[in-house]
Assembly symmetry: C2
DNA sequence: GTGAAAGCGCTAACAC
DNA sequence: GTGTTAGCGCTTTCAC
């Protein structure tokens, strides 16, 4: 009797790219063997290794990491969330993070949440959907809802640039309260008595400012004049802020700024107005950006080991992803006041 | 007769996360229907839509984009390659690119190639392996090998920040030669005659410097003094460069810098030495960073529409990814000299 | 050391 | 409008 005609072939033409299958066929081995030759070369014979390497070269095969990630449940993708990438503060951290991850075969996905924390939920969804092996949160305040989701999805999380009392998972940061106190103490020790503070309108900067003011009070100093400017901070805001501070009280002798850019603005405005720094007003910045040391006068500022933060965060994530246990989940990276000319 | 015992169950426990399958079961529909309810809501009945949305909410389902990407051949991932993210020049472009992509449901993957172009090949492999829907090259010189691979893999590519004669695919940039000429013309028109140039050691900056020097020659001016500094440029290098320029010839009356940071350095050193800007020496920067307008003196510089570059690049990629044809593949975004006080 | 089978979680292609 | 089926390209599990 007649054979039934073969059912219609539904074809889903692939991408057309070379696959592991092709490589395996060319090498005369099973796909899984080719896979092993590439990922765990010790498990295959030299003969097979040679043939597979050869086939890879001849075909120009590039493994599809999407497929690999799906099968192995490891995407080798790490997400980083920053408020905004401009505003050079987090830049250094993102850079070292990218580098440290790349060295270990991981790739960085970048997300910007904005300072408002508005787009945060949509962003989180986009991130979690990719099943990254880790998420690095940098200078971000996460909504309660966001926290819950992060906890729920079980992806390793590293919070950075802060020392929160109740970390979601892992953390590498420093105490903003300590920074505020330290700067106040430093200025006091230098004989300054009437403080002003210029601070960006973000949670961490405000915490530093708060601590700065409290420390001044504790030292018995007159009330600190505070100017809050919108984040991200700019040179212009710094200039404007000094104008405002001088308007409020002409006799301040020290200004603490929540960023080096603000400090540069304050110093610029001071020079324009013939106010001498540091003789009449001492200026302290925050961040120790690359240019701080070479300004005139050179800027006294708070140095944060931004590169180390990125490296440590990468270490945390990779250790977790590769099943190593992370003994100490919280790292206080500290900070230091770099004494230069401006204060 | 006895049934053959069922073959041993090989189980591959999944990630344990909620899958589309779970949502579909809960909603009482087939998986594909649930998929449609989420991706193309118009194609399902209101009844189904309601039930599926409900199930999603109840389960906290987050679609696995790895799986989706594998199945649909569209990763909704875009890779950006920059020499280094620090060095605020490309920052603005990366930022607007990230934003523009996020708005359209795409995610950015970041790669740093370093200025040397050394790690470029490994990076390219890591990128291509993710099968991104597009690659944005920013301020990078690609090896011939790299070019070949990019062409071969068929992924849409946008080169930015330059106007190369033979683009790989799409391009949004401007002419560095024109910039160099324009700056020389500008300074000449301002009555300056003895030029110095401080330039970072990267391909584009050097092209600007070259054109600047040639234009000066064409204008019948004396030989331009050139100082080349390693990339990325810094304020310090700017200061050092002015020292060097003055050492070589005390009578220059204009300095063109390959970045605003260098220009700030030159101006800082000038002030320290009592050289008046712009009276004795005019200074021109490049980039028009946020702070340029608020320096004292405010910095005359070349403005590049970095944000527009990012947006256009995103548009290019998304159009291609979604099958729309891109009529004009090359966009010259132009530039402008922003006249301020320093020159 | 090597291989066959069975998915990972989703969507394209085709029926009804 | 909804469902069935067959993959996307890889890796895990188990068997030899």
């Amino acid at each position: 009797m007649a054979e039934a005609i073969s059912p219609p072939r539904r074809t889903r033409r692939g991408s057309g790219a070379v696959t592991l299958h092709d490589v395996a066929r060319l090498a005369g081995v099973a796909p899984i063997t080719a896979s092993r030759a590439l990922r765990t070369p010790d498990q295959v014979s030299d003969e097979v290794l040679r043939k597979v390497s050869d086939a890879v070269l001849r075909t120009g095969y590039v493994p599809n990491l999407l497929a690999g990630g799906l099968a192995s449940m490891r995407s080798r993708l790490v997400a980083a969330v920053v408020p905004t990438i401009s505003g050079p503060v987090f830049l250094e951290t993102v850079q070292s993070l990218t580098e440290a991850l790349a060295e270990r075969g991981y790739q960085l996905m970048l997300g910007q949440s904005g300072y408002s924390g508005k787009r945060e939920d949509a962003l989180l969804e986009a991130i979690i959907g990719r099943r990254p092996d880790g998420i690095v949160l940098t200078g971000i305040m996460h909504s309660a809802e966001g926290r819950r989701r992060l906890l729920a999805c079980g992806i390793p999380v590293v919070e950075t640039w802060d020392l929160t009392p109740t970390p979601i998972d892992m953390l590498v940061g420093f105490s903003h309260v300590e920074v505020g106190r330290a700067v106040a103490g430093y200025l006091h020790a230098k004989g300054r008595r009437r403080f002003g503070v210029v601070t960006g309108d973000d949670e961490r900067a405000k915490r530093r400012s708060q601590a700065f003011q409290e420390a001044a009070r504790a030292l018995g100093l007159p009330e600190v004049q505070e100017v809050v400017v919108p984040a991200p901070t700019t040179l212009r805001r710094g200039r404007e802020s000094l104008v405002e501070l001088l308007r409020r009280s002409g006799d301040i002798d020290a200004v603490s700024c929540s960023s080096d850019l603000l400090a540069l603005g304050v110093m610029t405005e001071a020079r324009v107005r013939g106010v001498r720094v540091p003789e009449q007003i001492a200026v302290v910045g925050f961040g120790d950006l690359e240019f701080a040391a070479d300004l005139d006068p050179s800027l006294t500022t708070v140095h944060i080991k931004a590169t180390a933060i990125g490296r440590r965060a990468a270490q945390f994530i990779v250790d977790r992803a590769e099943g190593r246990d992370v003994a100490e989940r919280v790292i206080d990276i500290g900070f230091s006041i770099v004494e230069r000319t401006s204060a």
